[in-house]
């Protein structure tokens, strides 16, 4: 009963931010991130879900804005560019901020990032992809082959 009430309450009190599509309290102008004047207004980080935004916020390493796509491209599941907030992202970027593509490193997330990189490139928007690498504290021996391979390919000078 408490759970169903909480779900109903959440639905009644939350909506999507009209700028970045993060969740926010219903009735507010924008979400807390978009309203924060101390944020770097020239940097937009694109994520798949609001939970990804929270994960990046927890890192404490990012001070720009966000854009939540609410999914990743998946043609076999009927999810194309029109089902995500890509059009709104492109409209938003007409003013020229730099974009960080922080979609998941799954095949679907990679495909979405590559699609966005191509589309943004055509618009002359500067875009970068989050780095691939090994989890901190993990042993190399136990890393999966794809992660390890990408860490080698995308190695950086020290």
């Amino acid at each position: 009963m408490a759970l169903s009430q909480a779900i109903a309450e959440a639905k009644a009190t939350l909506e999507r931010c009209p700028v970045c599509f993060n969740v926010m309290t219903r009735g507010e102008e924008k979400c807390a991130v978009c309203l924060d004047p101390n944020r770097d207004q020239q940097l937009v980080c694109v994520v798949e879900q609001p939970a990804d935004l929270l994960a990046i916020e927890r890192s404490g390493e990012y001070e720009g804005l966000y854009h939540v796509l609410h999914g990743a491209l998946s043609p076999m599941n009927g999810v194309g560019p029109d089902q995500l907030t890509i059009r709104q992202l492109l409209e938003r970027l007409a003013s020229g901020p730099e974009v960080i593509l922080a979609t998941s490193t799954t095949v679907e997330g990679e495909a979405t990032a590559m699609y966005l990189a191509r589309t943004l490139g055509e618009q002359g928007v500067k875009a970068s992809r989050i780095a691939y690498g090994l989890p901190v504290g993990g042993d190399l021996e136990y890393a999966d082959e794809v992660t390890l391979g990408r860490a080698i390919v995308h190695r950086r000078p020290v």
Partner: protein, 245 residues
């Protein structure tokens, strides 16, 4: 109520992450299609993170005897991944082949031939300079493996009346020269389609496919009748329409 551990090897053709962090995957193996759940499969770095779409994997799973619930995946080993399948000019076609394979294995156990054709098709998409051609070729060949490809009423080298084209009779499953009930195709497209369906793989991979719009229309009409609507194909046709209104 004993539990049974098994090992299987196959390609991930669907992957559905759940809010809990679990992932439900559909795997096509040589012995057929089956689904399983990977607890916390969304976690990066763990071996269940290898369960990405189109990955070729060996998995250990257990399932209770006499229980039709989903198998629980416990270990995963990656046998092969094709990073190029994420590229924008390849990804939609890889989705089409995976969705078609999924649709073709709904009611029948066609695991072995379809597994090999899908694996070959995905490798072709990743390696060939013309992924659109590869996707059309393998879509027809997958249909052929399922016994659904159109029969051809003519062979290469037959004299076809100049000026006449071909007809793809979708309901009869027949591709024949000349007019008739069905989808009309020009001469070149009809002959290319015959090669795509019945010719050698090597020869078909060298076809120019001058009228690709006709090829997609033929495939869409045929699939719609024999298999059902495929979402990935609808997306491709929409994109084609957007580019060539």
């Amino acid at each position: 109520m004993s539990r049974r551990y098994s090992v299987s090897h196959g390609i991930v053709i669907r992957r559905r992450p759940l809010p809990s962090g679990d992932v439900v995957v559909t795997i096509l193996s040589e012995s057929g299609k089956w689904a399983g759940v990977a607890r916390k499969g969304k976690l990066p770095g763990g071996n269940l993170g290898r369960l990405s779409l189109f990955h070729d994997v060996t998995v250990q799973y257990y399932r209770r005897r006499d229980d039709d619930s989903l198998a629980l995946l416990t270990q995963v080993r990656l046998n092969g991944a094709l990073p190029r399948l994420s590229a924008p000019d390849v990804y939609p076609y890889a989705n089409l082949l995976a969705e078609l394979t999924d649709a073709l294995t709904v009611d029948t156990d066609l695991g072995e031939p379809l597994y090999h054709y899908l694996a070959s098709g995905l490798r072709g998409l990743a390696a060939h300079h013309d992924p659109e051609l590869v996707s059309l070729l393998y879509a027809w060949r997958l249909l052929g493996q399922a016994g659904l490809a159109p029969q051809s009423a003519s062979a290469a080298g037959d004299d076809i009346q100049p000026g006449s084209g071909y007809t793809l009779d979708v309901s009869a499953g027949l591709l024949h020269p000349g007019p008739g009930a069905g989808l009309p195709l020009d001469l070149e497209t009809g002959e290319e389609l015959r090669e795509l369906v019945h010719g050698s793989m090597h020869g078909a991979l060298g076809l120019p496919l001058a009228r690709r719009d006709q090829h997609w229309r033929a495939l869409a009409r045929y699939l719609s009748y024999h298999v059902g609507e495929l979402r990935s194909l609808q997306a491709l046709l929409q994109e084609e329409g957007d580019m060539n209104p």
